[in-house]
């Protein structure tokens, strides 16, 4: 029965109250452990298409008569533009030009670098670019606000400051035997999806459009485009079969889609609007910088008595103030916690979700702080974490499931390596081991739907309008269907990425695809399976007869199964947990840091595809290493103009920077969560990496690195500081 409920829905750590119609989830979970297909490694269904270049991405689309767009963007963080687009109209190949206000996303008021001001479409991209250069445009440059602390002082904030308090923080500090205070800073990081943000828009009727777009959320695009263009939602068809990476940045249509839509309307042609790499790294989102002023108080045995923090998210001109304080609030059983989080509104490009937004940054601060405490109290960092393990959610409520202690247990052999690793230090190269815990969401939620169609050849098609952004969800869905239907995996195909050709499925973000869509697929497959068994019975065949043998007489008839995602467990916190142990080497003369090994143990419920899961873990860790050591979007301090938007200056990790990675998943179904017990794995692996590396550096050298990325400059600074501290200690009179 359909049931209408009022519930909290979580996406990327943000909650909203929504009405949902949910259908009961009547299926029992499968018992723990690998099944015939689920829980066993499977190659990606679309691996060959992607690897061989046959997969058609949005970037590869070329429709007959398609025009190409170039966009004039503000080079200044704050400016008022005076624009005359008419010279562009006379340029070769140009079909139309748009100035400020002609679509809402084009504006003469520029409050961040990359604000779209005008746009031109032409027969070729080169012509469109030449025409944009011909636009007459003067920018009256205004003083930008760039300093996050200054923005907080002035009250230039996105939303109200967020104060979260439990217990009595001041009393907790007073009860502490040791107090550590430290300020941590994290940098702006760029998503750098290999396929840039882009869309091809075509009006198929006066009142209907087709949008091909590189996106993580076809339905979100459908609704936003329909609203923006004033069309009924079903008059917008959104298609994304293959997409080249998103990492949180591709959930919304953004300026390029609306620019293409308006140009397509005016020219009656399909229009492509694709960002260049430099535009991508200017205007397509980022992980914002943070400042974290943190305090921890503890008894001498390590029991936490107080945790406090002032968090400044340097959000930029738009986006939201993400939950940087989340780990401090949620990870440990500390009775007295007080955090205040500010979202500084600056003349810098808007942030967007980037793989566990807030928690990556906040975990770096919290987990580095805890190791500074462990060093001060001379405690084992792993023991300190065990001691403060939260049996119940510290902010109230039960966990649906939690296996963090099991993660710690499985991490022990890796942690034990630290004696041997340290012993491999030389005069100039110091080695050490560090760890950090991981907490994040990842339970997904309703609604999501799937259909399963079985033909008389015994082959099955899963139809659901989700998307596979490279995480391998297409393959995972096929595995779930194959398992439930009891057909070979190679007999299952998955049709996805088209709002006209399948029911609603959730966005591919927030580690939510598998836990949201997976149960719907299983339910649809079970529906089909029930019908197959009914047919078998009527044919006098055994219940477990091969599917192909049951349906072979059906000719054109099809068996159609339908499934929906059931509700999340009421009143329970559905979270993912884990731990990573990093081994690093530091050249103390040159400040070079390199990571030699990372062991990751995560608890994300049932694992559908161990092969794809290990790839997700490796990918998250490698992005984490870039975040920790080499990536940084810099801007000129005086003007705020961006300096590192090209991939020579913005340094992503290469294959040569990758350490040995050992990954393990607890693979215990969350017994309260859906018919699968699976949570998402897209984000958890990136959460603890930076902190584990920073803690390994402290283990190796005694230096407290407090800023990301850990450049040579930061490493050498921290080493000098540690050396001075050591001298002070040695030089101090006895007894002090």
């Amino acid at each position: 029965m359909a049931r209408l409920i009022r519930t909290e829905k979580e996406v990327e750590g943000r909650y909203e109250e929504v009405w949902l119609v949910v259908e009961e989830d009547a299926l029992e979970q499968w018992p723990t452990g690998p099944r015939d297909v689920v829980g066993r490694p499977a190659e990606r269904l679309d691996g060959f298409e992607r690897a061989s270049g046959q997969a058609v991405y949005t970037a590869d689309l070329d429709k007959p008569g398609m025009l190409h767009t170039a966009v004039l963007r503000s080079p200044h963080p704050r400016a008022r533009a005076t624009v005359d687009v008419s010279p562009a109209l006379g340029m070769p190949g140009v079909h139309a030009a748009l100035g400020p206000g002609e679509v809402e996303q084009l504006s003469a008021e520029c409050n961040y670098q990359g604000q779209a001001v005008a746009a031109v479409c032409a027969d070729t991209l080169a012509q469109a670019r030449a025409a944009v250069r011909a636009i007459r445009c003067d920018f009256a440059v205004l003083e930008p606000l760039l300093d996050p602390d200054e923005a907080v002082r002035r009250g230039e904030l996105l939303g109200d400051p967020r104060v979260r308090e439990r217990g009595d923080y001041e009393r907790g500090l007073a009860e502490a035997d040791a107090v550590v205070e430290a300020e941590y800073r994290t940098q702006v990081v760029l998503h750098n999806s290999m396929e840039t943000h882009q869309a091809v828009v075509e009006w198929t009727r006066e009142d209907a459009v087709e949008v091909h777009i590189s996106t993580q959320y076809v339905w979100g695009i459908r609704d936003a485009v329909a609203e923006g263009l004033g069309l009924p939602a079903d008059n917008v068809r959104v298609v994304c079969h293959y997409m080249g990476g998103g990492f949180g940045s591709k959930n919304s249509p953004d300026d390029y889609t609306f620019i293409a839509a308006e140009l397509a309307r005016r020219t009656r042609r399909p229009v492509k609007c694709a960002l260049t790499r430099r535009e991508e790294n200017t205007a397509a989102g980022n992980r914002n910088a943070t400042i974290q002023r943190l305090t921890v108080g503890a008894r001498s045995d390590g029991t936490l008595t107080a945790l406090g923090g002032e968090f400044v998210n340097a959000v930029g001109w738009g986006g939201w103030s993400s939950g940087t304080e989340g780990p401090m609030q949620m990870l440990y059983a500390c009775p007295n916690v007080k955090t205040t989080t500010y979202g500084a509104k600056l003349n810098l490009p808007p942030m967007k979700a980037f793989r566990a937004p807030g928690f990556v940054e906040g975990t770096f601060g919290l987990e580095a702080l805890l190791d500074e405490l462990a060093a001060q109290l001379d405690l084992d960092p792993l023991e300190l974490r065990r001691l403060n393990h939260a049996e119940q959610a510290p902010e109230g409520g039960e966990y649906s499931d939690k296996n963090l202690l099991e993660c710690y247990r499985r991490a022990e052999p890796h942690w034990e390596r630290r004696h041997e690793v340290r012993a491999r230090s030389t005069g100039t190269v110091k080695r050490g081991v560090g760890m950090a815990s991981q907490i994040w969401y990842g339970g997904g939620g309703p609604p999501s739907y799937a259909w399963v169609r079985v033909g008389s050849d015994g082959r099955a098609a899963v139809v659901t309008a989700m998307q596979d952004i490279g995480t391998g969800t297409r393959t995972a869905m096929a595995q779930i269907a194959a398992e439930e239907l009891r057909v070979p995996l190679e007999h299952v195909s998955v049709s996805l990425g088209d709002t006209d050709r399948g029911p609603y499925a959730t966005l591919s973000a927030g580690s939510s695809t598998t836990p949201s869509v997976g149960p719907a697929v299983r339910a649809a497959a079970a529906d089909a399976r029930t019908q197959i068994e009914e047919i078998a019975e009527q044919r006098g065949l055994p219940k477990d007869a091969p599917v192909a043998a049951v349906v072979d007489v059906l000719e054109d008839a099809q068996i159609l199964g339908k499934g929906a995602r059931g509700p999340n467990p009421t009143g329970m916190q559905v979270l993912t947990f884990g731990v990573q142990v990093a081994e690093v080497a530091v050249d103390v003369e040159t400040g070079e840091v390199w990571v030699e090994r990372i062991a990751a143990v995560h608890d994300v419920g049932r694992v559908i595809n161990p092969l794809g899961a290990s790839s997700q873990i490796e990918g998250g860790i490698i992005q984490g290493i870039g975040h920790t050591l080499s990536e940084e979007r810099l801007h000129d301090p005086a003007t705020g103009r961006l300096l590192t938007t090209t991939l020579d200056a913005y340094k992503l990790p290469t294959i040569a920077d990758v350490p040995e990675i050992v990954s393990e998943l607890v693979d215990e179904p969350d017994r309260h969560l859906t018919n699968l017990g699976s949570k998402g794995l897209g984000e958890p692996p990136i959460v603890p990496t930076a902190a584990a590396i920073a803690n390994a550096i402290r283990d190796a050298t005694g230096a407290d690195v407090r800023q990301l990325p850990i450049t040579r400059e930061e490493m050498l600074r921290a080493l000098r500081e540690a050396e001075a501290r050591q001298k002070e200690k040695v030089g101090a009179p006895a007894g002090v």
Partner: protein, 144 residues
Amino acid sequence: MRLDVNDHAYELHCEVGTTLAEALRDELSLTGTKIACGEGHCGACTVLVDGAPVLSCITLAHAVGDAKVTTIEGLREHPMLRSFVRADALQCGFCTPGQVVSAVALVEARPEPTTEEIRHAMAGNLCRCGAYPKIEEAIRTWRD
């Protein structure tokens, strides 16, 4: 101008300044070659010119001359492709054709490359999804 691509001679017309990547994608519809940065920094556009991996996004089409161009479309039968799929050496797949092209050139020169050789030869192909460990594995096991 003429281009010899995947053992096929093409006649095409494009302006001087057109890059090989643009010619392949826009004129010949060989869209397996991807453009991810367009300025020679990421390796997604890698093709072979006389067997050597080069960046087609900063190679002038008119400067290719009589050289033989091999794109991912010309490597469809190469066992390296299957090896990438087997090892799960791709996620979003956008950089993958370029990775495969570089990997093929490596093993054609050194059929059993060491880890160090793989890392040295593949360092110009960026992968934002971080499929690197499995790319390494795919190259190590390409003949399995």
